[in-house]
């Protein structure tokens, strides 16, 4: 018996949203084959339960993988043209655009971010991302060599196959789009495990997958606990590739499981402790805007958060005053409030974690410029917090906090700050502000990060690759580079004229 959908009323707008609660396998919402476990979804602004959904077991993962494998062999994979894939992915983008407001409200309810941001940025970017990859679907080309008179050698960029995709809770819809778009463009099939904290929009998007016309089994959605669904996908013998975005800790487990099982391909987008540098020649007001954005956007719950800010000594006093003003000008509140620039952090666990870092900062002797006080009342709200006088050995400087908590340090010379910036096992993002072009070139070249922003921060483009160096990840998303993650190269050597002499 398939589980009944629930009707959720968004109290702020009066909108009623029907959300499917079953596992999405073979274009249908179904119950678990062997488990009665459910996941309770919570509204982080009110701490109230939104609804319950089915939690997939390891056996359900098997069913989903089998569905994805069957689709790959029959209606997808090499059985569908790039033109058709392009058309379907574009159709999905159209449907997302049609339902943008409803999806945004559901995203805000479950994740807490402001509705306006969810709709215009998260969903806006996701629609563009789908369209971008729809455009690649019929442009997957290999190489053909002409060097040889008797052999024709060429490469095929085949789809990898069945892909397990595990996405986080900080940008549920946007991370969904980043994963499904290139995978579908390359003709892979998908078993998608959204975060157990924010599974609702992934389930709602599954309805659009059906409406767009994708064959059953091409995209399957199986909300589950990481230790169940995530572990099952990583170690599954019939999954060809796993793509994960989340913590470095979990990323290691996934890579280990992949290595121990079938050496499936792994791509990882992990954590960061990204350095953000303000040189004395910078436009200070702009730099302060970007620096504030870098740590406060999405309430600091961003893998590229510019969480270590380095300010040159000659402009330090002036700059930190500006920065404090900028930070305090933002409104952190319920995502349905018009003026909201940021919402609560996503859960009690995250809330406690962020606060324990704030307490450790205080305990280790860092000074508070702003923030550090808990808000009374309901909701997992954390106000912008800036620590100064930090030392490289402090926990708040070394470890990823994933909240609106900034460590701010002074520096003197370019060489010094480059060394400080690179003194981390992470390497995801980095930013620098300077009007000296030569300096911009030198420093952007020296910073060990997958993305370096010059006189900007946070802003990505769908056609520019994104990913981590060092322990921030393996592989790249976005741009044409993402296609490499979902294709498997086959070289064909076709002899049409050479005879083999024997014995050779």
């Amino acid at each position: 018996m398939s589980p009944a959908p629930v009707e959720i009323t968004v109290s702020a707008t009066g909108r009623k949203i029907t959300v499917p609660t079953g596992l999405f396998i073979n274009n249908e919402f179904v119950a678990s084959v062997d488990s009665k476990e459910t996941i309770q979804t919570v509204n982080p602004a009110t701490e109230e339960v939104i609804c319950s959904i089915v939690a997939a077991s390891a056996a359900d993962i098997d069913v989903a993988v089998a569905a994805a494998r069957k689709a790959f062999q029959t209606t997808w994979g090499k059985n569908v043209t790039g033109f058709e894939r392009s058309r379907l992915i574009n159709k999905l983008a159209d449907l997302m655009e049609r339902d943008a407001q409803e999806l945004a409200e559901l995203e805000t309810l479950n994740n807490g971010k402001p509705v306006r941001v969810a709709r215009d940025f998260d969903i806006g970017d996701s629609i563009q991302c789908l369209r971008y990859y729809a455009g690649w679907a019929d442009k997957i080309t290999g190489e053909a060599s002409i060097d040889n008179k008797t052999k024709f050698a060429f490469t095929r960029h085949d789809p990898i196959g069945v892909c397990g995709q595990i996405i986080p809770w900080n940008y549920p819809i946007n991370m969904w789009a980043w994963k499904v778009a290139p995978a579908l463009a390359c003709s892979c099939t998908i078993v998608m495990k959204p975060s157990e904290l924010t599974p609702l929009t992934a389930l709602k998007l599954s309805e659009l997958v059906v409406e767009a016309g994708f064959p059953p089994g091409v995209l399957n959605t199986v909300p589950s606990y990481g230790s169940v669904g995530g572990a099952a996908l990583s170690s599954h013998l019939d999954v060809d590739k796993v793509a994960f975005t989340g913590s470095t800790l979990t990323g290691r487990k996934i890579m280990e499981a992949a290595a121990k099982s079938n050496l499936k391909k792994v791509s990882l987008e992990l954590g960061g402790k990204s350095p953000h540098i303000v040189f004395e020649s910078a436009d200070l007001d702009q730099a302060a805007n970007w620096a504030a954005l870098g740590i406060l956007y999405n309430t600091g719950q961003d893998c590229t958060a510019g969480s270590r800010l380095f300010v040159q000594d000659t402009i330090y006093d002036k700059f930190i005053e500006l920065l404090a003003q900028k930070a305090q000008a933002l409104t952190i509140s319920d995502g349905f409030a018009e003026a909201a620039s940021g919402g609560p952090v996503v859960s009690k666990t995250q809330y406690d974690r962020v606060w324990s870092y704030i307490e450790s900062g205080k305990a280790e002797g860092a000074k508070l410029l702003i923030g550090g006080q808990k808000r009374p009342g309901k909701g997992f709200f954390v106000d912008p917090t800036i620590f100064t006088d930090v030392k490289p050995t402090m926990k708040i400087v070394k470890e990823e906090i994933f909240g609106p908590v900034l460590s701010l340090a002074k520096f003197h010379s370019e060489e010094e700050v480059i060394a400080l910036a690179n003194d981390t096992s992470y390497g995801l993002g980095a930013g620098l502000h300077s009007k000296d072009a030569n300096q911009c070139m030198r420093v952007s070249s020296a910073l060990e990060a997958g993305t370096v922003w010059v006189n900007q921060y946070n802003m990505l483009n769908n056609n520019v690759p994104f990913g981590g160096k060092k322990q921030s990840g393996i592989g790249r998303e976005l741009g044409s580079y993402a296609l490499e993650e979902y294709t498997s190269i086959k070289a064909v050597h076709w002899n049409f004229g050479e005879k083999l002499d024997w014995p050779f």
């Binding site: 563009q128 369209r131 729809a134 019929d138 030569n438 070139m441 030198r442 769908n462 056609n463 049409f496």
Partner: protein, 500 residues
Amino acid sequence: MVGTFSYKFDTPTFKGTSTFPTGLFINGKFVDPVEDATIDVINPTNAKVIGKVAIGSSRDVDIAVKVAQDAFDKSWGLNVAGSERGKLLWKLADLMEQNADELAALEALDVGKAYSVARNFDINGCIATLRYYAGWSDKDHGQTIETDENKLAYTRHEPIGVVGQIIPWNLPLVMMCWKIGPALATGNTIVLKPSEVTPLSALRMCSLVNEAGYPAGVVNIINGLGSTVGQAMSEHMGIEKIAFTGSTVTGRKIMEAAARTNLKNVTLELGGKSPNIIFDDAEIEQAVKWAAHGIYFNHGQACAAGSRIFVQAGIYDEFMKRFTAHSQALTLGDPFEPTTYQGPQVSQTQFDRIMNYIDSGKKDGAKVHIGGGRHGSEGYFIQPTIFTNCRPEMKIVKEEIFGPVAVVIKFTDEEDVVRQANDTAYGLASAIFTQNINLALRVAHKIQAGTVWINCTNFPEVNVPFGGYKQSGIGRELGEYALRNYTAVKAVHVNLGHKM
């Protein structure tokens, strides 16, 4: 006063009315030409005049170029992000899809091709082409190139600016989309001249261009004669690039005009006399069907037509028996009858030209195996024709006929047939039929043609490049390669440390 074309279709395959203005389309509006002039539009099925459209002169080209340059500087070009350009092209494709039946009917009326072919091949091909190029709009990157740590070197693929495009009458909308697709994707603005023989479907597209949301002046359509509007475009100092599909004779004139004036960039898709080589071990039933498709598709009015059919001696008699039967069974008739395969040739001029070639073949001593004459008494219909007993020096073997006239030549030797196949000033397409893959690849790699079809003919894909060797053309259309026709490469060297 801008005129209107209106036609009521009441046929077994399409019923409906098509109505649209017939002026010049400049800056998003239909306008009268500076000097009043029109040309009649003739229905080739019955030779009757069905309407008329305005034609322009060099003065209208001047106006259009100004408007297109203005649009390029202010509302198009790099002022619009690639993803946005892609969105508009996709929207135009959607609009073509919504109006597909009517567009197909106009094409069938004006060109004389079967409605079902116009609908399924031409219009569907157009939609696929526009969608394909929509996807390229935000993906044509330059490169960063490693030199040393004191220099940042990179390339930009910039749109050229105002481009001139001149298209033929054989597949009007397909040729329009092959041209505007890559040009718009890369951010250029356009002055396009349809063929004066088939001006209708391009005019119908104009309101779709507006509806898709293109800023005024991005796409400008100027009907007119090659000798006036086409010449003016080729010589224009404000057009930096011209793209032409048509006859080799006209292609030369365009290239000469470009050389004489501002050395504008030129790409040409010209004629062909494409060889179709059928070996003894070909799968014969398929070879017959594809060979017929190769020469009779679009009534032989295809630049890539496989018009010289070389058949190996061992299979010759059997091939001729089946090919003859197949050709004789082709149904000629009104394009809007559901059973029609072949309609009329596009115009009196083309009809006369083809009939002259048939006469010359007869005079030169080739044997008319079937056909060789007019079909019916109304319209420009020509019987599917097969010539045998041909010698290489005959006009029908050397020159492009552009009609449903197949020249069949027997051969024995692989090397000799390759030599014969390449013994032409043309080099557009070719086909090879054999079950032996080694033979197929060996021969394919030796043929001097821009496309080699193995075990098929006339089977293009929007993402595979198409274009000519030798005098069949310069440059490639379709695929990623077409983007190169509409972008200029700028190299930027940023010195970040080298001192003089």
